[in-house]
Symmetry: C2
């Protein structure tokens, strides 16, 4: 469904939301541990998300990653688009370039439904909401 890169990105965003909700910042090493991802790899990913304004960061001592109030409202759709592009939102399920409502591939109509559900879900789900469920221990990012 998502690339590994995207999975890490989503996990990291939720984790950062959680750890920075008191205004503090969280470092790469802790993020990597917290979401069980390769340290250097998630660093690269967050760098890119930072460039796109999806996550905030500060260099230097007491620096690290954090989410401002607006970033907490980021939808999963925004993250997925930033990392994986919009193939999942609009690409053909069978990989055809010329697939459309007018010239549908054999799976087009079935896929349209599913894609709509996925899109809705990703649009309505915000990082901040997921973080709250995590806080209440209703969900988990690792073994714990």
């Amino acid at each position: 469904m998502f690339s590994k890169t995207c999975e890490y990105a989503i996990r990291a965003m939720i984790f950062i939301a959680q750890k920075s909700k008191d205004g503090s910042k969280i470092g790469i090493r802790e993020i990597a541990k917290g979401i069980d991802s390769p340290e250097y790899f998630i660093a690269k990913i967050l760098q890119e998300l930072g460039r796109k304004g999806v996550v905030q960061s500060m260099k230097g001592p007491t620096g690290g990653f954090y989410l401002d109030n607006s970033a907490r409202k980021t939808s999963l759709a925004t993250i997925v688009k930033a990392v994986d592009g919009d193939n999942i939102f609009s690409g053909c399920g069978l990989g055809l370039k010329q697939c459309s409502d007018k010239h549908p591939c054999p799976l087009h109509h079935e896929f349209t439904k599913i894609r709509k559900d996925i899109t809705n879900m990703l649009n309505k789900t915000k990082v901040g909401d997921l973080q709250e469920e995590l806080d209440q221990k209703l969900t988990f990012l690792r073994r714990d």
Copy 2:
């Protein structure tokens, strides 16, 4: 959603269903052209599907690939499982190993719904049905 390998596999299966419905067989070269895929690559994929009994084939002159009556009833789920494994049916959306109903990842519940829809769709959709729609020119596998 699916790997490229899987996309080619599904497209090839539908195409073979169409070209072999009169009992004839169709060669790799024509399949590759018909579904717009790399020739040697789809050959490999069909080899593997042949080994698993998903597609039938014959060597030698007048040989080629075809689908018998039971193979026409193959669901997309069977093809996807044979090629991509069952990650799409059961894997965690965020890539967590220990994700389950009891120990859900932040997206677990939302994903459960979507995965159920996808699974249902793949289970109920049969190669033969897709081939018929293709025959009626209701859907397409290439530009045409």
